[in-house]
């Protein structure tokens, strides 16, 4: 082998490394070090921590429950005199005063299917009987027998508190905590935020 032949075969050993490359590589190391240092507490996505807002886990039902049958803070009997006798107006449309009421209950389109005609503070039991406000499920039961049965066995609607009644009180939501009686289809709602994409170390999405 000639004295300097091997130099020609070893490109790297023989190449002159310019200063700028040395500077660039060192700068890259410093930058990498800074990156690791400054990111040591940031999460995979680098943003601020997710805040779980109380409305995401608020247990109150879809509708606010009242204590008695009332409108604008007044009991029905305040205006409707029981001695006036049954109304003779069209039993399918709400008058001006009750414009808030819009019936969308399918073929169940008569006020007095549900409201007691003579005693407005009550719901209508079959045969003119009265159902008190706090027993509203007996009203719905008139037409939704199977759902009512499910509700009593706990498979429809929601029970809260204790599954073990020996350990504590078990509560149950009434039908109108979830269904607006005048338009009973369950209303759409806003979903709580989707999970952020989590990036496991070393995995790129």
């Amino acid at each position: 082998m000639a004295e300097h032949d091997w130099e020609k075969t070893d490109a790297f050993r023989n190449t002159e490394i310019p200063y700028w490359l040395l500077l660039a590589v060192s700068a890259a190391f410093v930058a990498a070090a800074w990156f690791f240092y400054s990111n040591r507490h940031a999460a995979g996505h680098g943003g601020p921590a997710f805040v779980v807002k109380p409305q995401y886990y608020d247990i109150s039902p879809a509708r606010t429950l009242k204590k008695r049958l009332e409108t604008e803070g007044m009991a029905c009997g305040d205006c409707h005199d029981p001695s006036a006798g049954p109304s003779s107006s069209d039993p399918r449309v709400a008058p001006e005063v009750h414009s808030k009421v819009v019936l969308k209950h399918g073929p169940n389109n008569r006020c007095f299917n549900c409201h007691n005609n003579a005693k407005r503070d009550f719901f209508a039991e079959d045969g003119g009987g009265q159902i008190p406000y706090l027993k509203v499920e007996t009203l719905c039961r008139k037409c939704h027998g199977t759902t009512y049965r499910d509700w009593t066995s706990g498979t429809h609607g929601r029970r809260n508190g204790y599954w073990n009644k020996a350990a504590g009180e078990q509560k149950q939501l009434p039908c109108i905590a979830c269904h607006d009686p005048h338009s009973p289809a369950f209303k759409p709602m806003l979903a709580a935020p989707a999970p952020r994409k989590y990036t496991a170390p070393g995995v790129k999405h």
Partner: protein, 317 residues
């Protein structure tokens, strides 16, 4: 330097004859220094490591073999750790399984609207990490017509339910034949006599075999030190459920063991606005869960896997 001279004479060393530039040797020296600095910086998080186990933690016996006194001592130690880190004294319990109780869960697929309240009620109850996020419940959005988990979507936003879609929340199924506990090399996860599959965070070595074995993708791993703001800590906690976890351990739904063994409903059920979530004692014929098994159309996710879940999906007949 003595050997430098020797090297100069060696045929394998060829000092650069020119006056400008850097020798390879110099280059490597600077580069090595830079790399060392970078490595030091990359490892610097280890400086803040607080999770080095104490000797006592290290020598702790398996949970199922602990005597009541030993349990009490461990609970006291963990309570003190929580107090130090979060500034609140937790009410930490280790409730035993109840006699004559077999827990089961059922979810009404026809009712769920995908609002994700259960997801966050669970996070709020169980002290999961907020950053990175850990959710025990994934709500899958699927097109009506088939149960196709593969084409499901979890990142829908806005008003729900979306037209033509239905929703299927998935969480730990608490299988009677759990593949996850079988693969655990250290028995850090096991099935309790009341049917709840648990993890001992002090025992878990973080190998993640269980997560790979679970057909329901129900296990979550703490890849990073969990972050939980002090004010968000739920001080009602159980040893086998929602006590704070550390980096490198597996966690998952425990049916809110600290609540349910005290007779309460799990947090995800309490919050459901549609009433799709049902929970109770399978052995009690008056429970809603027994009524569902009796009266409803029940189906099991990935039944062919033979895991025999204690988590059922059902629809109204």
């Amino acid at each position: 330097m003595a050997d430098e001279k020797d090297q100069h004479d060696s045929p394998y060393f060829h000092p650069k004859p020119y006056g400008s530039g850097v020798t390879r040797r110099q280059f490597l020296a600077v580069a090595a220094a830079g790399a060392a600095a970078a490595a030091a910086a990359a490892l610097s998080p280890l400086k803040d490591l607080t999770q080095i186990p104490t000797l006592r933690q290290f020598l702790q016996k398996h949970y199922t073999e602990l005597t009541p006194e030993e349990k009490k001592e461990i609970l006291g130690r963990i309570s003190a750790e929580v107090r130090e880190k979060y500034g609140v004294t937790p009410h930490l319990t280790a409730q035993p399984p109840l006699d004559g109780v077999q827990f089961a869960y059922a979810l009404n697929m026809g009712r769920c609207i995908g609002c994700r309240k259960c997801v966050y009620a669970c996070v709020n109850e169980n002290n999961q990490s907020r950053d990175p996020q850990i959710h025990y419940i994934s709500v899958l959005e699927m097109e009506k017509g088939a149960v196709n988990v593969e084409t499901s979507n979890t990142d829908y936003e806005g008003q729900v339910p979306k037209k033509g879609h239905y929703y299927m929340p998935v969480q730990c199924h608490h299988c009677e034949k759990p593949p996850c506990t079988k693969v655990c090399p250290v028995k850090a996860t096991w099935r309790e006599p009341d049917g709840i599959v648990v993890v001992d965070y002090n025992w878990c070595i973080g190998c993640r075999y269980c997560a790979a074995a679970c057909p329901y993708h129900a296990r979550r791993f703490n890849f990073k030190e969990p972050y939980l703001p002090k004010e968000d800590l739920n001080p009602e906690m159980g040893y086998l459920s929602n006590r704070p976890r550390q980096v490198g351990v597996m966690e998952k739904c425990t049916f809110c063991l600290h609540r349910t063994r005290a007779g309460k409903y799990p947090a995800c059920l309490e919050v459901c606005p549609t009433g799709s979530r049902k929970f109770g004692n399978l052995l009690d014929p008056d429970s809603e869960i027994a009524a569902i098994i009796r009266d409803k159309r029940v189906f099991i996710l990935k039944q062919e896997r033979g895991t025999i879940p204690r988590f059922y999906y059902f629809t109204d007949v």
